[in-house]
Amino acid sequence: MVRKRLGKIKGFSIQFLPYSEIRGLDSNQRIRKILNIVLGNNILILQGRLEPEEETRLIGDTMAIIGHVRNFKGVELAVISGNNNEGFFGKVRKNLVSAIAGGDIGAVTIIGPATIVKEIKRNPKKIELLLKG
């Protein structure tokens, strides 16, 4: 049954990237690395998250590529982060861990090409990755 449903989707893979792979990179290199993976028809699951300014630049760079790379229509993006209502000490602990690790490694970033990922539906209780058939 599952095989029959997935049978229509062709030519993509899921790649996991540990945070250690981008920790030492500057913003340009991080974004280039992520977009190269996504442009290769891969859904990227990145441990951690980018800085807010890098996330925005990723959107901007994605827009700049549309029209220049054949069949590229953008990305679907979601960052799954911890609970924001964790109180003062929770925030201090989180910031301390982030400072030691060099980034927010408690988060997970999912990025996929819009030609494959139709939508990433999220609400406080679940996240659904809807793929194009």
């Binding site: 925005t56 901007g60 549309i66 029209g67 960052v79």
Partner: protein
């Protein structure tokens, strides 16, 4: 990032000396078709008699940043002057085929898609220059959208005051509560830009926010 923080710090120190006299840059940000231009039009029409741009049901109607300078808003005897900046909707994907269902031919759809992508880039570039930002969200849509979270995350990092507007509350599907629970740290004002509903509360919140800038 450090340069931006310094820039913002000095801007705030110097601008504080001239508070009340200067023109605050008020940006309207949000996803496509949330009603940014409708709200900006409503304000401009009320206080200048002119609109800022055209609105349409077709997404990405605003594909370039539009301005209206020296808009003096008067509320309960107080006056504040703003430079209104209406920005194209920010998104992570644009497919020209989505425009074909709006009776557009392929060529027109491709041109619109190209202009829309450039508009998003322009919107992002302008983020740094804002004094106050109103995030306009469609109250009938799921607010847990990464674009919304990313824009707000950026504004927080740049220490730019943010007001969230839940637009289209005239529609039955609208839910202000959903937006409030998605962004518990921010003030959310429910309005209908189309019918001018609850704008008093919006101006009250805007004036409060502008004092922080």
């Amino acid at each position: 990032m450090v340069v931006n923080a310094f820039k913002n710090f000095f801007r705030r120190v110097f601008s504080g000396l001239f508070r009340g006299k200067r023109e605050l840059k008020l940006g309207f940000y949000g996803p496509p078709n949330a009603g940014k231009t409708s709200l900006a039009n409503r304000i401009c029409k009320d206080f200048t008699g002119e609109e800022i741009g055209t609105v349409s049901k077709i997404p990405h109607e605003t594909r370039a940043v539009q301005f209206k300078e020296k808009v003096q808003i008067e509320y309960k005897g107080k006056k504040m002057t703003f430079k209104m900046i209406d920005t194209p909707g920010i998104t992570t994907k644009i497919d020209y085929e989505d425009f074909l269902k709006y009776k557009m031919n392929k060529k027109e759809a491709k041109i619109r898609a190209k202009e829309a992508t450039q508009g998003v880039v322009e919107s992002i570039k302008w983020l740094d220059d804002m004094d106050v930002v109103v995030i306009v969200l469609d109250a009938t849509e799921n607010p847990y959208n990464q674009v919304n979270l990313t824009i707000i995350g950026n504004l927080v990092a740049r220490k730019i005051p943010v007001l969230i507007v839940a637009n289209k509350i005239d529609l039955r599907k609208a839910s202000i509560k959903k937006i409030e629970s998605a962004f518990p740290e921010y003030e959310v004002v429910g309005i209908s830009a189309k019918y001018g509903k609850n704008l008093e509360e919006f101006y009250e919140s805007l004036f409060k926010l502008a004092k922080e800038a």
